[in-house]
Amino acid sequence: MLPQKPDKKFKRSIAESGGDDLNKCYQCATCSAVCLLTPEDHPFPRKEMLLAQWGQSDKLVADPDVWLCHQCNDCTVRCPRGARPGDVMGAIRNYSFEHYAVPGFLGKLVSKPAGLPFLMLIPILIFVFMADWSQMATFSGHVHFYDFLQNGPLEMLFMAGNFIVLLLASFGLIRFYKGMADSWKVKPEIGFIKAAIQTVLEIISHKRFGTCDTSKYRQTAHFLVFYGFFGAAATAGLALMRMEYLHFIHPEHYALSNIPSMMLYHPIKILGNASGLAMIIGIIMMATRHSNDPESAGVSTYAGKIFIWGIFGVAFTGMLIQFLRIGGLPTLAYAFYFIHLVFVFSLLWYAPYSQFGHMFYRTFAMIFARSINRMPQKQ
């Protein structure tokens, strides 16, 4: 099979999103020898460096190893040439989001800073339309988010939206999985379902993260953000379900516009606050290591920045509006609620095209790798 003609657009993309020192690599393979996550058979990331130098984008977007990498940057720190293999792997992942994007134009918009205003415009317009802005007139008084934005439309929007997003993401993911299967012509040793279950259990434990040497703090940081995010999403869902439930069992007593707020010791509230705090602490851990120890944290890219700020924005505004509600400041509370929703919408619905998409791609890559028994080297 002939190699692909070197993909210049791919090489430009790699250079623009963190892999600008790629050409310094002289294939010494120190990176593959120090990586603790690589399998022993055809280890990464050296071969990815070579394939990237030659612009072999077709192979790289279908390479599970690109996603088995957890960006610990042991390789970047030890690379004698400063070619930053860890950052190159990250750049390949950024390229993959755009490559697999359906529809393609959304992938392009998410990948460029110039696209950000257009992307933000969509949720801004939607929520400007949906909200009752007259509620903002009261500066101090009773805060009731239902008055600003009703449950029903909100729930419909997110459920429909999530469904559409998952559908669009699945197009890319199926192409991705097929691509991996075609390029690694190895018969799977275990079936997809079994591999998926094992992978999900491994992700829940965050065991693989702890293998890396240089960025051990990442295991804790990601654990906090990961569980914080799911906890916050669960909180939102549970809070809405509580409202619907109370209204359902006592419609006269509990009008939807008149559901009492939860006390801080309410289990859902505790979950929400713990989750928000976990997200904030986790993001701060990631961001401060970023600036204190640049090489081991990897280079900062536009895609990385908007992802980190997106999560931080969601968590921060979420916590803030709680305090604004308790403090009885409707104008500010509703304003930040609006901002919060814009952040949440952007994070969730652009997920397949942004770095948030790693939750899909890395999971699928790990499932595939597990199915062909491509596991990290024994220590």
């Binding site: 002289y26 294939q27 010494c28 393979a29 120190t30 593959s32 020898a33 120090v34 690589t38 399998p39 022993e40 058979d41 055809h42 280890p43 050296r46 071969k47 030890r78 004698p80 040439r81 400063g82 080297q377």
Partner: protein
Amino acid sequence: MKTDLLVVGGGIAGITAAVEAAEVGKDVILIEREHYLGGRVVQLHRYFPKICPPTCGLEINFRRIRQNPKITVLTGAEATKIDGKSGAYTADVNVEPRYVTEACTNCGDCAEACEIEVDDNYNFGLTKAKAIRLANDNPYPNRYFIDSAAVNDPKMKALVDICPPKAIDLDMKAETVSIEAKSVIYTTGWEPYDASKLEGLNYGVLPNVVTNMMFERMTAIAVNNEAKVVRPSDGASVSKIAFVQCAGSRDRSHLPYCSAICCMASLKQTRYIRDQYPDAEIHVFFIDARTPGRWEDFYQNVQDDTKTIIHRGKVAKVDDAGDGNVTVIAENTLTGNLEKITVEMAVLATGMVPSAKTTKPLLDSKQDEFGFIWPGGVIAAGVATGPKDVAGSNQDATAAVARAMQDMVEV
């Protein structure tokens, strides 16, 4: 003292410069910091590409020095001040005492009786040395000396009477010699890079991880005693050994440059092993095998050895495998597999750091960020100007003499 040429550094480049200048009628003073001439070459067991013993090349040069009245050699000598310009330099040279006079006949009674031992830097800490000793197996000057670290030891006094020609003088003092020279050449050579700085390779932690220069001394000492080279921890004979190339070389965190000769040096060392252990399994790990010119032939011969396995991949980790053994870890980029090979000993091919980096030349010099001396300032030759082999050092020294002659000619 007045002279035409002052050569600073008595390794092979300095010796060559001195001899070349003297044999066209110039007066030369050759100063050397140690108590012996020969620098790094005399520390080698053999040198490539013809696997010559250092005595072969050095002996002829020592004879030329000895027979030429125009060459003055000062050992234990280090310049403390050099001023002036082309055609008129003045230098102050501090000459450390040997504590042994010219009456010495090399009988060796003193060393036999000596109980005091000192750190042996000549053998990179592999052995301890007697406080009074010959510098090496082919010393020039061929006379005993006392290590300054031990000269004040009370047991030293007893040795004065043991010496038959009464050549031991513990009251010798350092002298300052003033030299006027028309030209100066720096041939200060190199030091091995400190391997303990190499993360992941466990040098200094695991006893059977040694450097290329240490392995050179181990082999030289063994063969001199008509024995085979063995590994440091337990003296076990060698049946499986790994050579780790580019240990700290071509590396932005250590020596960013290539030291040019370590590939050949390690390939040469595989021949040492093969000579002594016909069945030993030898592994060599390269990023690139740098064997230009006629060295390619040498590399071909090593490749033809069926029990020498060449791996294209740099060893990034050396782990403890128990029982003194070590596991070297590298990706073989040709087969695409991660290799973890357990061997009895690993030899790290560490690079050359110019001595001029730590001890800056006393005249204005153009040095790059690694310490190598470039044209434009003081005249230099040998590894002081860049990594090279023996032949290259000699050619460089001859060229430097031609350049120095321009300073000696009155215009």
